[in-house]
Symmetry: C2
Subunit: 474 residues, 2 copies
Amino acid sequence: VNILLHYIEKTFDVKSKILDFHHPHQLLEGLDGFNLQLSDHPESLEQLLVDCIDTLKYSVKTGHPRYFNQLSSGLDVIGLAGEWLTATANTNMFTYEIAPVFTVMETVLLKKMCEIIGWGETEADGIFSPGGSISNLYGILVARYKQYPEIKTKGMTALPNIVLFVSEHGHYSVKKAAAILGIGTDNVIEVKCDERGKMIPAELEKNILQAKKMGQTPFCVTATAGSTVFGAFDPLHNIADICETHKLWMHVDAAWGGGLLLSRDHSYKLSGIKRANSVTWNPHKLMGVPLQCSAILIREKGLLEACNQIGAGYLFQPDKLYNVDFDTGDKAIQCGRHADIFKLWLMWKAKGTYGFEAQINRYMELAKYFYKVLKKKDNFKLVFDAEPEFTNVCFWYFPPRLKHIPKGFERDQELQKIAPKIKAQMIEEGTAMISYQPCGDKVNFFRMVFSNPATRQKDVDYLIDEIQRLGKDL
Amino acid sequence: VNILLHYIEKTFDVKSKILDFHHPHQLLEGLDGFNLQLSDHPESLEQLLVDCIDTLKYSVKTGHPRYFNQLSSGLDVIGLAGEWLTATANTNMFTYEIAPVFTVMETVLLKKMCEIIGWGETEADGIFSPGGSISNLYGILVARYKQYPEIKTKGMTALPNIVLFVSEHGHYSVKKAAAILGIGTDNVIEVKCDERGKMIPAELEKNILQAKKMGQTPFCVTATAGSTVFGAFDPLHNIADICETHKLWMHVDAAWGGGLLLSRDHSYKLSGIKRANSVTWNPHKLMGVPLQCSAILIREKGLLEACNQIGAGYLFQPDKLYNVDFDTGDKAIQCGRHADIFKLWLMWKAKGTYGFEAQINRYMELAKYFYKVLKKKDNFKLVFDAEPEFTNVCFWYFPPRLKHIPKGFERDQELQKIAPKIKAQMIEEGTAMISYQPCGDKVNFFRMVFSNPATRQKDVDYLIDEIQRLGKDL
Ligand SMILES: Cc1ncc(COP(=O)(O)O)c(C=O)c1O
Ligand SMILES: Cc1ncc(COP(=O)(O)O)c(C=O)c1O
C-alpha cells in the first residue's frame, strides 16, 4: 500500500517523469533484475515487492498533469478508492444474490443517466459493459433485434441485406461491431462530414435513399456526440428527423461526449439526444472514472433482455427468495461481469452532479485558453480555426524550416514526419504525452484533449514550449 | 484502507456471516442511513466512509470459507494487491505506448499458457478478454473468419447456412455468441451427452452428417473441458479426430477446467487439448485470480488480428518509435481494454506453477472427501455416483418425509422445492452459500464446487450438517 501511495504522489508531481521509456524487447529480456518470465517455484515476498515497484517504475503515469495522450486520463483518488473496494469485494454482477449492493447501484445509476438524457418520462433500460466499443456493439445488436427479432434464432440468413450509417469521423468500433455481428464492414456506410467533422444531414438522407435504391435495407444510424479526434457533435435533431422518416433506429455514440450533459452551459451541444433509441456513454472518459466504466442505455425497456436472454438454469433460477428482476445477467452478452459501478457511484456521491459539472467546465475553459494561445502563434496552425466546441483541439506545429515551403505535397511530406518525431522525443525524455494522427487528406497533426483533472494552465503553456523546443530544429 | 483490511479479516473468519440479506426494494429505498440515491451536491468525507462501510456490510463475502456459490470464489490477497496496483496505474491495454509493462506481461502469459496447452512448437496467439463468454465469442468469431474471410466485409449474407456443435451441457455463452454473431441459436446444434455429462462422439458424428444432409454447413465444434454444472470433460481426442475428418474448427471451452492443466496428477483429463484450434481459459475461476481474467488462445498466429483489425489511425500509428507488434489493440473486439494481466502475473510469481498445482490438488482432495461422506449418508443422493473427475459434486438432499415416497413424478414435485427452500434459509441466516439448479429431467439439485482456497474439511462437514439442519423438517 505504501508503494502505491508513493506512486500516486509521484503521479501528481509535475516534476517527475511521465515514463521511463524502454523498448518492448528490453522489457521482455529483463531489465536490471526486473524479470517478467514465470517459473515453477514461488518468489520471496521481498522480490514480489520489488516486482511491484519495478512494474510501476516502467509504467506510464496516466494521471500526470502533462499526460494528454488519451481521452481517458487522470487519476481520481475517490474513484481509485472505489476500485480498491470493488476489488476487495471481488464479486460478479450476474445476480442480485451475490452482488446485492452493486446490482441495485447499477439500477440507480442507469436511471439517473437515462433521466439526464431526457428519458425521464419513459422507463429506460441499460447495462454497464467493458467499454464503449462493446456498448456500441450492444446498441447495434439491439437495433437489429428490434427490427428483426428472428435474427436471434435464425441468424442473418433470414434477413435482407441490412446496412447502417455512421459519419466518416465515427469511432472505428462501429465497423468492428458490424464485422462481429455478421453484418460486414461493407454494410457500414460512411456519411460525409462538414469541415468541422459533423455529419451532414443531407448526405445522410442521400445515402439512405441510395442504399434503398440499390436494394439494401437501412436499419440504423449511429450518430457521434463528441468524435474521437475532432470532438465534433453530429446534429442530433436533424438525424432524429431522418431516422423517424425512414423508421431507423437511432444510436448515439456519446462515449466521449456524454459527460458534457452534466454541464448546464454545454449540454445544448447534445440537444436531441433524448430522441435516440440507444446511447453509449463512458464515465471512464470525460467524467474521469477509472477504466473500465461504460454504459449502454436503451430507451425501450425489456428489449435488451429479450435480445440477449438465453436463460441459464444454473444462474437464473425463478424460485429464488427475492425479486429476480434484479438478476441482470440475462441482459448481458457476458456471463461473469466485473462490478464497474461502485467507483462511479462513489465519485458521484463525493462530487455531486455539480462537482462533475465544475470539472468539465474547467476542461472547456482550458481548451478555449489553449486555442487562443495557439491562434496567436505563427508556428502553430489549427486544423479547424474556430473556438472549440469540446475539449479536443487539433493542430500542426511548423518548424521554422517548413514555414517557408509553400503549401502542397512537398511540404505535407515533411510535415507528416514532424509530429511523430516530436512525440518520440517527448516519450524518450518523459516530459509530456500527446497523441497525433493523420486524417483524410490531413497529414499527421496533434490532438490535444482535456480530461485530466490534474492539468493546470501552466501545463498547457509547458506543452506548447516543449513542442517548440523539440521541434524547432526538425 | 483500514476499512478494507478489516473486511478482509472478516471475510476469512468462518464465524462471521457470509451476508446480511435484504431485499432489493429495501436497498433501493435506503437502509439505516445507507442511501443509494445520488444528488447534485457533494457528500462529506465522513459520509463517504460510512457509505463504503455500508456497501461492504450488505455485500456478499465471496472469499468466505463457506461460500461455494460460484465457480469463481475466494479472495487471494496477492491477486488483490495486484488489482490495487492495476487500479492505481489506471491504464489501457490497447497500445504498448501507454501500457508498456502490462502489454509485455500479457505476451509472456499468453506464451506460457499456450505452452502449457502443448502448443510449444508453434507460435500461438491470443488475448485477454473481459470473461469466458467473450472468449468463447472470440473463438467462434475466429473460426468463422478462418473458413470465410469474406465475412468481415460482406457479412453473413455471403455465407452458406453455417452451423456449430456443442454438447447439451456446454455453457450458454456459446448460444449467446451465436445470437450475437448473426449465426442464430437454431444453428447451434446440441450434442447428446453420456450420463456423466460428456459429449458422445458418435452422436457428434451423427449430428454432423445429419446437418450436412439437410444442407447446412458445419464449421466449428465447441468442446467443453470442465462443464459448468457437472464438471464433465468432453473426450477431446475423439472430438479432434472428428473435426479433422470433417475439417471443422475445434474450440475448447476450458473456462472452468483450464486450470487443471497445472496439475500433473489431473491434467490428463484434458488430454487432446493441444489439438484444438482455440481455447478459452479463465484464470478467474479455478486459479482463483480476482474477476475479471480470461484468456482466449488461438493456435494459428496472426488470425486474431486479421479477423479484428480495423486499423484506427488515431491509435495505431505505424510511425512510432518502438516495435508496434506490441500494440495489441487491433486484435481485440474492444478499444479501451482493462489491464487484467498484472494480478495473474503477480500471483504466478508468488505461487509458482507448483503453488497453483498444490492448491488445485487440494480442491480435488476436498471434492473426493465430500463425495465419500455424502455416499455414506442415506439422506443424500449423488446425481452421478462415481468419484468426481473435477471439483463439482452434484447431489440431492432428501428430508425424512420424502424418503418414503417412491421415485416418480409426485416425489420429484416435492424434491424440486427442497433445494430452493434450504438455500433461501441459508441466505437469510448467512451461514453458507451453495448453488442449485434443475437439469434436463433432474429436478433441483445442489452443485457443490471447490475453488475457494479458504475452504477446509471442517467447512465441508459444516455444510452437510447445515443442509440437514435446515432441511430435515421440510
Ligand atoms: C464452462 C464455462 N464456460 C464459460 C463460462 C463463462 O465465463 P465468464 O463467466 O467468465 O463469462 C463459464 C462460467 O461459468 C463456464 O462455466
Ligand atoms: C467516440 C468514441 N466511441 C467509442 C469509443 C470506444 O470506447 P472504449 O475505448 O471504452 O471501447 C471511443 C474511444 O475512444 C470513442 O472516442
